[in-house]
Symmetry: C2
Subunit: 356 residues, 2 copies
């Protein structure tokens, strides 16, 4: 049985999810149900959802533009206004159907509308299933700064149905793999090897691995809900990854990277830094780079790009008194938080990435 | 000793407040302190604050435009961006110095910046002292809809220094009296009489009454933090009051009302409805109308205005399944929540107000 039961934020990753959704929706007796989708999930995922569950009255469907670039306060305002106009009240229920942009943004919209109404997350991308589904973080970007505005508030529960993955374009599937690889790096070499070697055509194996990733993340956030120490490891590769993602998003000369693509680079760089600063074992380090590059082909990053990326680091949420703080690893599953890294070493890390 | 000590949201209403502020700021060791003000409190209240307390390093002063019309998500965005640009991080501290607009909006900005940073409220208006200081509600308006977006999150603590009231223009002082009168209506006839008869020139008496209002509100929100029942009484007069405030704000033919001025009308109307529906005693009802009208001169409200105001009622946060829910009173301190009121009776209430 694949469920994690908590007071809030329970996760159902087996067939019972749809039953629970029906049961909870009945018990809540929401005055109205709103389903937030983007153009893609509206087309590819909503029909499946509506086949799986019949609601007592027709839910209102809200559609936002897809993509990270719309994960901002303007989109929230559009949704807040639509909720108002369509008669949402404190007893309304929001169902977020989509990838991380939808669950992050929809969770924030629900958590702040009339000071918080009930919501359920149904992640439809691999990334959202293994990453955004647990931990209660939600929010939006501020300009190019990722997740700068938000709150921590768990959904009523999370429903995971891997049938949604059938509709996911290949690069988006791969993007999710990056976070699963991260779970291996920060938590267990054993799990790393499983993710590294799994067969994408084997549906059963994917299910098992997704569930294992969710359990790893859940254990981490349960042990450190307020991100004092352990939970910071989930940011492994993200300090540089976010800055790279932001830079590629705003630079007119770059194509936009998917979150996982940026984090993949961030993990290669962070493992280099881990090797240099904490003595992460050399051979493992090279194997990791190799594995990641097989899934995520190398991106061109110039000196000018690196300069811009380093500038963006000062906006990282983990910073303290103006200093950029990295999470680094001694080895698989063994971490050190609040590592300061001198800029020349960051340049060296990019060199390593370029020349590997 | 005038303090209410809680895990979060303690209130200090005596000289100890400034000592506590110093102590907490020292203990927190914030990476940076930001003081949010509006143009008025920047001019009239900030110098007093900076005389009262010396910070280890200079705080950054942020200034927003004053008035309810700027209590919106655009102002939040300006502040979020300024915080980012000026190097705020998760260890920064925000001090909100101002009336209800500043404490509501600043509290929301702090609660959502990087998923929540620490903040302290220093209310400088009578309204903010007796109303916004307790209960943890914060947020902003959505278009004309009051407090539609927000969260519930208590400040680290609240510092009340009634010396700030010296800088308050008379109408703003009177506006605060409306909420104190409300505390009398919903909680105790005894307190009502005290507020009704108090001498504005008697500083000591004002202090005592403010503290009594804070204690009443604190008792209510402590007994019902999630607004299931008792806390709804704090909305007495506000269902219609908010709609009237919004209507006067958007109508080009009307002058903008202060919150207390709108709530004063709302209380007269609600007490009429209480009399009609729950048999609120006739003579007390007329005395209440009389008392409120002495402080808050009658406003002209046409048939067309009433129509518009009733339309706005559907956006009230207490609504349930599309029905407008009123809190009404059987007598002083005796309430009934979730009262449905037919529209013709609302018209009759306005008639009563007009012709009294």
């Amino acid at each position: 049985m694949r469920k994690i039961i908590k007071e809030r934020g329970s996760v159902y990753c087996d067939n019972s999810g749809w039953e629970i959704l029906k049961e909870k929706a009945n018990k809540l007796q929401p005055s109205k149900i709103f389903i937030i989708t983007d153009k893609n999930t509206h087309e590819f995922c909503l029909p499946y959802l509506l086949k799986k569950i019949k609601f007592d009255s027709n839910p209102e469907i809200l559609i936002i533009s897809e993509g990270e670039i719309h994960k901002n306060i303007q989109t929230c305002t559009i949704l807040w206004e639509q909720l108002s106009q369509k008669g949402a009240d404190r007893k309304s229920l929001i169902i977020n159907l989509g990838g991380g942009v939808i669950t992050d943004l929809g969770g924030f919209v629900a958590s702040t509308f009339m000071r918080g109404i009930e919501f359920i997350n149904i992640p439809t991308s691999l990334l959202a299933m293994v990453d955004a589904s647990v931990g209660g973080k939600n929010g939006v970007d501020l300009g190019i700064l990722k997740n700068q505005i938000g709150v921590i508030n768990n959904p009523l529960f999370v429903l995971i149905d891997i049938d949604f993955l059938r509709t996911l374009p290949k690069p988006h599937f791969t993007s999710g793999i990056a976070e699963m690889l991260k779970h291996g790096l920060i938590y267990s070499e054993d799990y790393w090897l499983k993710v590294k070697n799994f067969d994408e055509r084997n549906q059963k194996e994917i299910e098992t691995l997704i569930w294992e990733s969710i359990k790893i993340k859940n254990e981490i956030v349960t042990n450190d809900p307020f991100e004092n120490s352990l939970r910071k490891t989930l940011n492994y590769g993200h300090t540089l990854g976010h800055a790279i993602e932001s830079h590629f998003l705003i630079s007119t000369e770059k194509k936009t990277l998917l979150h996982g693509e940026a984090v993949a680079i961030g993990m290669i760089l962070s493992t280099f830094l881990s090797h240099e600063i904490l003595g992460f074992p050399h051979q493992k380090h090279r194997n990791i780079t190799d594995t990641i590059l097989q899934e995520f082909p190398k991106q061109t990053i110039s000196e000018k790009d690196i300069e811009a990326i380093i500038k963006l680091l000062i906006f990282d949420k983990k910073n303290n008194n103006g200093k950029v703080m990295f999470v680094l690893l001694n080895d698989f599953g063994s971490y050190k938080i609040d590592c300061e890294v001198p800029n020349p070493l960051i340049y060296k890390a990019f060199d390593y990435y370029k020349n590997f």
